[in-house]
């Protein structure tokens, strides 16, 4: 196995009086795409938010590229090279598509070649470049959110349920985009839609009840019907 980029060891997170993460152990290898599967309320989003420092772990350790970031502030974690696409997309609807991406470019100006590369995945962005992001459709907003995360090279992308509420045709386009993206970027992708990720993922972790209940290669899980049934039975029925 290759070098570990992100590592969570026994992470517990409380939100108010609720104990959401109950000892999460997760490793994300450098390069490729890791999928975090699990049904609603399993703690996937909380895991991402804990990594980003939006909620802080009450116990355990989060390390990124060897540095302990458990208690770091969100901007510092972001500057360390982690980009985050929240489930709600976090688009600035009042700002144009260009301005949305421009704010994500910390170097000051955006790299034209890289923009063209992004437009290759998401042609709609070029079309609506100077329009308020709030006026875009749900799928286009999702494109803005992902484009914002990759407008500059980052070391790790955290992407939360990008297919939620999108039409199948758009999901197909997104699969193509992710397939190319994972060649150059490291991605941790949270999903409920197993069909969407089973061909994409390199490694996979399954969450339930605030813990990781399975971790391994995606190919193994995709081949093992029985294991799928055991781990994801419920969510497969609900979300297929």
């Amino acid at each position: 196995m290759s070098e570990i980029l992100l590592k969570l060891e026994g992470v517990h997170t409380h939100i108010g009086q609720y104990h959401i993460l109950q000892g999460v152990d997760l490793e994300v290898p450098k390069g490729g795409l890791t999928v975090l599967l699990g049904r609603n309320g399993a703690g996937k989003t909380t895991t991402l938010r804990t990594i980003m420092g939006m909620w802080h772990a009450s116990r355990g350790k989060v390390s990124f590229a060897g540095d302990d970031i458990t208690a770091a502030a969100t901007p510092d974690i972001s500057c360390a090279g982690i980009a985050y696409v929240p489930e709600s997309m976090g688009i600035f609807s009042d700002l144009t598509v260009r301005e949305n991406l421009y704010l994500a470019a910390r170097a000051g100006e955006m790299d034209t070649a890289r923009l063209e590369w992004i437009f290759g995945f998401f042609p709609a962005l070029k079309k609506f470049w100077n329009f308020p992001a709030g006026n875009l459709s749900g799928g286009q907003k999702q494109m803005v959110a992902i484009a914002r995360a990759i407008v500059e090279p980052r070391r790790l992308l955290l992407i939360d349920e990008p297919t939620k509420g999108l039409a199948p045709a758009i999901i197909q386009g997104m699969i193509t985009a992710f397939r190319e993206l994972k060649e150059t970027e490291t991605i941790l992708l949270v999903e409920q839609n197993f069909n969407f990720v089973c061909s994409l993922g390199d490694t996979v972790a399954v969450m339930d009840g605030g813990r990781i209940v399975h971790a391994g290669m995606m190919a193994d899980l995709a081949a093992d019907q029985e294991l799928q049934q055991k781990l994801l039975g419920l969510s497969l029925h609900v979300h297929q």
């Binding site: 600035f92 009042d94 910390r106 100077n130």
Partner: protein
Amino acid sequence: MNTTTSPAAAAGAPVDAALPKVRVDYLPLLLVPVMALVMLPLVGSFPTWVTLTFAGLAMGMMIFIMASGLTLIFGLMDVLNFGHGAFVSVGAFTATFVLLPMKGWMEADSALMNLAVVGLAILLAMLVTGLLGWAFERIIIRPVYGLHLKQILITMGGMIVAEQLIHVIWGAEQIPLPLPETFRGAFILGDAAVEKYRLIAVAVGLTVFLTMFLVLNRTKVGLLIRAGVENGEMVEALGYRIRRLFVGVFMAGSALAGLGGVMWGLYKETLTAAIGGETTVLVFIVIIIGGLGSVGGCFIGALLVALTANYAGFLAPKVALVSDILLMVAVLLWRPRGLYPVAKR
């Protein structure tokens, strides 16, 4: 400002028929001219109407200067500073440190000297209120982010203390603050008289508005502020420290209140510690009408409130006592969250 986009900056983006419509909400923009035109036949005499309208615009600009900072602070930080009026008072009173000792320059019949002394007073007032804002944010507001009830109580307490300290420092007597020599009198346009100082107030107000507009739309800091108004957490996730943005906006908003205080004090030509309290009420009405957090709405709201007050004062003085409340009720009946509701709030 939440409806503005800059298509002019389009870097050769292709435009085709399938583009989503840019929804610009024009209706509130029409309110000010429509109100002014409707009042013309009611007022009857054109010169009187010009004078009243100009008086309203000038007053509106001054209220806007005071209110803009408050609404921006609220939009970005979700903090409503009930002590905002204290910054208005402190600004006005600080100006006396310059204006009173330099009486000679004030009374000189030279526009340049007058401008210099007023400019210096404004600069000092903004500096002091800006620094006070910094301290206020650190000491009073920081511990109560996200706690609305405590915010209201604490900032109210801060206002009481500040008002009393003004009494301690400057005394309880009211201070006369005459206008500089060349700012007095009026220009005669046909039969209508327009006071010079009102012209200056309009100019300063427009400058503040345009500067704010440009900063918010054309600079990275401005974009970050607008982004932060909508989703502060995401701004942090992009790697920016929103706390610094908060402090900066709070200081700028406080300094603007200070500027407004100086303008208002010169307009009234006397200073009492009650200036903070009386402007607070106006400012609140204005930002409720505009939509909490919206700078553009605040601008329109300020003009509407001031014009209404002036027209009503002429047409029906008794009604003028509650004209701003009636205006607020009318606007809220039309749009329950103000003219330009900010999405998140």
